[in-house]
């Protein structure tokens, strides 16, 4: 198990390094000209343009820029020189081209919003989706099964911006049943945090739970048709024990992989959900940064998403090994 873990972590580090090089090259060496977009004059005069490029460190050779960036991530760095230099402590992801604010500060504001949306929705879609899928499989052919399949088909075919706007229109603006979505730090008020997040949770939760319900149903049906389940039932084990002890554990294993990867992807930024509900999470921050050609923020959000996805992959691999001993052996 230890060697397995070390192997996975090393692979993750290599992957992250490759991603950082590719991302840096794409964004910093591409055709983007952030100095022009930042320039106060409508068309930048060459002196001011050169000045901004110098301030941003973009007049340095690419390799130096990358080395400096990576040094900042691990040990921090000073950006600029003289009296206008900014001290950027580790993990330094650069400073915003627009505001000269350290990107880590910007992400520290945005990430809790994404985390709140995703974790809440994750709980909703796991409980509702897997629960409904399991029940549907156990009660195959009944009304419950048909309702569950109908639910899956309906919500799986919906888009977040459609369902989100629809729910907001009816539940917030027409009936006033729910408060408008907004992020309040749970440290400030857990109640207001939960109420503010309710609509995104319901929307993202319902759409994803539809997919999980279908997957869970299919997995459970497959497992229930296995010989060992028939054997367990023939042995006279209580039906509840057969379902939950034997069938559920086997059926849930592939779902863990998908859920883990989904969680990782979503933590990198749920752009559409954040935009639908106007929540300033990591995804929306990245989109705004793209509009502004604010490369350090784009770079940081891409790296953050990559780190989370790679980490979730490692976690999923480990979890998989825990749930299914055959993985460890291979």
């Amino acid at each position: 198990m230890f060697r397995f873990a070390v192997r996975r972590v090393l692979l993750a580090v290599l992957t992250l390094f490759a991603i950082s090089v590719v991302t840096f090259s794409l964004f910093f060496l591409g055709p983007a000209d952030p100095a022009s977009t930042m320039c106060g004059s409508k068309l930048c005069d060459p002196v001011t343009h050169a000045r901004i490029e110098h301030d941003l460190g973009m007049d340095q050779p690419a390799i130096n820029q990358y080395a400096s960036y990576m040094r900042g991530v691990f040990v921090g760095r000073t950006i600029g020189s003289g009296d206008t230099a900014i001290d950027c402590p580790a993990p330094c992801l650069g400073v915003s081209f627009r505001t000269r604010e350290p990107v880590t500060q910007i992400l520290a504001r945005a990430f809790p919003v994404t985390l709140s949306i995703v974790t809440g929705a994750f709980v909703v879609y796991l409980i509702v989706g897997i629960g409904l899928g399991m029940l549907s499989a156990i009660r195959r052919g009944t009304v419950l099964d048909r309702v569950s399949v109908g639910f899956s088909l309906s919500f799986a075919s919906m888009q977040i911006y459609f369902l989100g706007l629809l729910l907001t229109y009816f539940l917030v603006w027409q009936t006033g049943l729910l408060p408008r979505p907004q992020y309040v730090s749970p440290a400030e008020s857990v109640g207001r945090w939960a109420m503010g997040m309710l609509l995104p949770w319901i929307t993202l939760g319902l759409i994803n739970s539809a997919v999980y319900a279908r997957l869970a149903r299919a997995q459970m049906l497959e497992t229930l048709s296995e010989d060992y389940i028939r054997t367990a039932r023939a042995k006279g084990l209580p039906i509840r024990r057969v379902y939950f002890r034997h069938a559920f554990r086997a059926a849930v294993t592939p779902l863990v992989t998908i859920a883990g990867l989904d969680l990782g992807t979503q933590l990198g930024g749920v752009v559409i959900t954040e935009s639908t509900f106007t929540l300033q999470g990591a995804g929306r921050t990245a989109v705004l940064a793209i509009f502004q050609q604010n490369l350090p923020i784009i770079m940081a959000t891409v790296l953050l998403a990559a780190i989370i996805i790679v980490l979730m992959n490692v976690v999923v691999d480990m979890l998989y090994a825990v749930i299914d001993p055959r993985v460890r052996l291979s």
Partner: protein, 582 residues
């Protein structure tokens, strides 16, 4: 100035084109601009005759909380970095400059007056030297009196890293070579051309006349900064206020709460009032939710204003609701869109005129969202520019707005017009809209090769004098309310350089250049204003552009809001006399 950069608005994916048809504002305060009224004059108060405090707003009541909804945080509030229209409008709440504007919601002339200074500026040598004297009682929020040295320090900061994103007009006028780098990189060096003989007086000296200086020092470039209190980047969120409100709490990307500044003296201010107790900026909205919230007006939202336009998907709903329409303002803005015709390449005047005749304005306006958010343009000056003159050199057939294809064809008779290279910034909106434009011009026999250009590289590409684009999409908004801030930038052939041109029609007409120079030299800008309308018409006769549209402000305020109207300068609500109805 620039439009704010907005984040992706998902609702834009589901909007439809709005219904069309003109409407008229019947603002609840009775002070809203009507679409047909244009800002046609400017009064510059060189003599310091504007009274202080500002005259009371009729019906105003003190107290209450005003909510201002804005999609996303301000890019900058550190004064020397401010250049985006919404920040320029709302910085009036906490930043003061040497001069400032008094806007008239009833259509009267715009006034440029002394703000921190006693007048709009004194010059005795036709604009080469300007003197400003600070008013009595002007203070920072901590009670420290504002001195001319603080103003000079603010201007010095504008030359540094902490001013590089703001307007650069004043800096370039003072130091054309831009050798001075601000108080950090050019330590111990005085700001070129700025002297402070005493604590109340600041003098600007230029090598050449700068009649426009009173406008330039109305920008936050000329906001005073106390050297001891300047905290560099941190100043963005913790600045020293000089206006009626100061920061109570600022949570980046979430909200900004302002409270009254006890050290602001209304007797020192001819422009602003401070009727409301607190101002709350909510940055967690988008166009859709702003509109929904102001329409619904629940709780604090009844005393709120929007900073964006009503989203197209909601226009029909708004127009169908008589109650909401009472608090809707529709007004002209400084933003104008054009198709520049490269006169270096399309040298035949009749071809350029034919392009103007063939353009179907009605189809275009419908394609960009309807007459509520845009108005067909026929001039290069926006209707809010002082001196604007309404004319149409290329009217549609039978007085309509669908162009005059027959007239265009007759102008083209006997000519062979090659395929025209049509360049535009490659955005989703442009992809649709430019096809509509080309469709209408094609009817007259023109043919095009489309050249969508990466938006980031667009102005660099078309601003290169050697560009092979024949037609280029673009837009403009005056940086200060003076005809020279449009015509002098876009059509002065003497300013054409190899790269970085704003004159994208590359018009270089000796008579026009001479007239621009003559008007620019007039020290009294109120008098100069009146002549820019005629010059605009002279330019349009040369057809270096096809004017496409004037953007319109179409926005709603809450039922409890009074004393506001559309600002002709910033395309936002005017907040200098705003109050919450009790």
């Amino acid at each position: 100035m620039r439009h704010p950069v907005r984040a992706l608005v998902v609702s834009a994916l589901v909007v439809g084109l709005a219904a069309t048809g003109c409407d008229k504002n019947t603002g609840g305060t009775g002070t809203g601009n009507e679409p047909e009224k244009a800002q046609s004059a400017i009064v510059v108060d060189y003599k310091g005759e504007t009274p202080t405090p500002a005259p009371e707003v009729e019906g105003a009541t003190p107290g209450g909380k005003l909510t201002i909804m804005q999609e996303g945080d301000f890019e900058h509030l550190s004064p020397q970095q401010i250049y985006v229209s919404n920040a320029l409008a709302y910085a009036n709440l906490f930043h003061r400059q040497l001069t400032g504007y008094i806007e008239d919601g009833k259509g009267g002339p715009l006034k440029l007056v002394g703000d921190l200074a006693t007048n709009a500026g004194e010059t005795t040598d036709n604009g080469k030297t300007w003197k400003y004297t600070l008013r009595e009682g002007v203070k920072f929020e901590d009670g420290t009196p504002i001195t001319s040295k603080d103003v000079a320090y603010g201007i010095a900061v504008s030359f540094s890293t902490y001013g590089v994103q703001g307007p650069q007009y004043l800096q370039t006028a003072l130091d054309p070579e831009r050798a001075y780098k601000g108080p950090f990189d050019s330590k111990g060096v005085a700001v070129p051309g700025v002297t402070t003989p005493d604590d109340k007086t600041i003098v600007f000296t230029f090598a050449t006349p700068h009649a426009e200086l009173p406008y330039l020092v109305s920008y936050p470039t000329a906001t005073p900064i106390s050297e001891a209190k300047f905290t560099k980047e941190k100043y963005e969120t913790a600045f020293q206020s000089t206006g009626p409100y100061k920061i109570k709490e600022y949570k980046r990307d979430a909200y900004l709460d302002l409270e009254k500044n006890p050290n602001w003296d209304p007797k020192s201010d001819p422009i602003r009032h401070a009727y409301v107790d607190t101002v709350h900026f909510d940055f967690t909205v988008d166009g859709e939710s702003e509109t929904n919230r102001v329409i619904a007006g629940q709780g604090d939202d009844a005393a709120s204003i929007m900073t964006g336009n009503v989203v197209p998907a909601k226009i029909a709903e708004v127009k169908g609701n008589a109650d909401v329409m009472k608090r809707t303002i529709s007004a002209a803005t400084p933003f104008v869109r054009y198709l520049y015709i490269n006169t270096q390449r399309v040298t035949d005047l009749q071809v350029r005129q034919a392009l103007n005749y063939a353009f179907d304005r009605d189809a275009y306006i419908k394609a960009v969202g309807g007459y509520d958010v845009a108005e067909p343009a026929s001039t290069t000056l926006a209707p809010v520019v002082p001196g604007y003159k309404k004319f149409d050199e290329y009217p549609g057939a039978n007085g309509g707005s669908n162009g005059d294809v027959e007239k265009a064809k007759s102008l083209l008779q006997g000519k062979t017009v090659p395929k025209l290279k049509f360049c535009f910034a490659n955005t989703p909106v442009n992809q649709t809209v430019m096809a509509v434009i080309q469709g209408s011009l094609t009817k007259a026999g023109f043919t095009f090769s489309s050249s969508p250009i990466d938006p980031a590289a667009y102005y660099t590409t078309v601003g290169d004098k050697t560009t092979d684009c024949d037609i280029m999409a673009g837009g403009w908004a005056q940086d200060f309310p003076d005809g020279d801030s449009t015509l002098g930038v876009l059509f002065d052939g003497s300013k054409i350089v190899d790269k970085g041109n704003n004159n994208l029609g590359y018009l270089n007409d000796a008579a026009i250049n001479a007239k621009l120079l003559e008007l620019r030299g007039l020290a009294d800008r109120s008098q100069a204003a009146a002549q820019y309308g005629d010059l605009d018409q002279q330019i349009m006769k040369a057809a270096p552009v096809i004017p496409l549209r004037y953007d319109r402000f179409f926005s709603i305020y809450g039922s409890k809001v009074g004393g506001t109207f559309a600002s002709p300068l910033w395309a936002q609500f005017n907040i200098t006399g705003i109050y919450v109805k009790s």
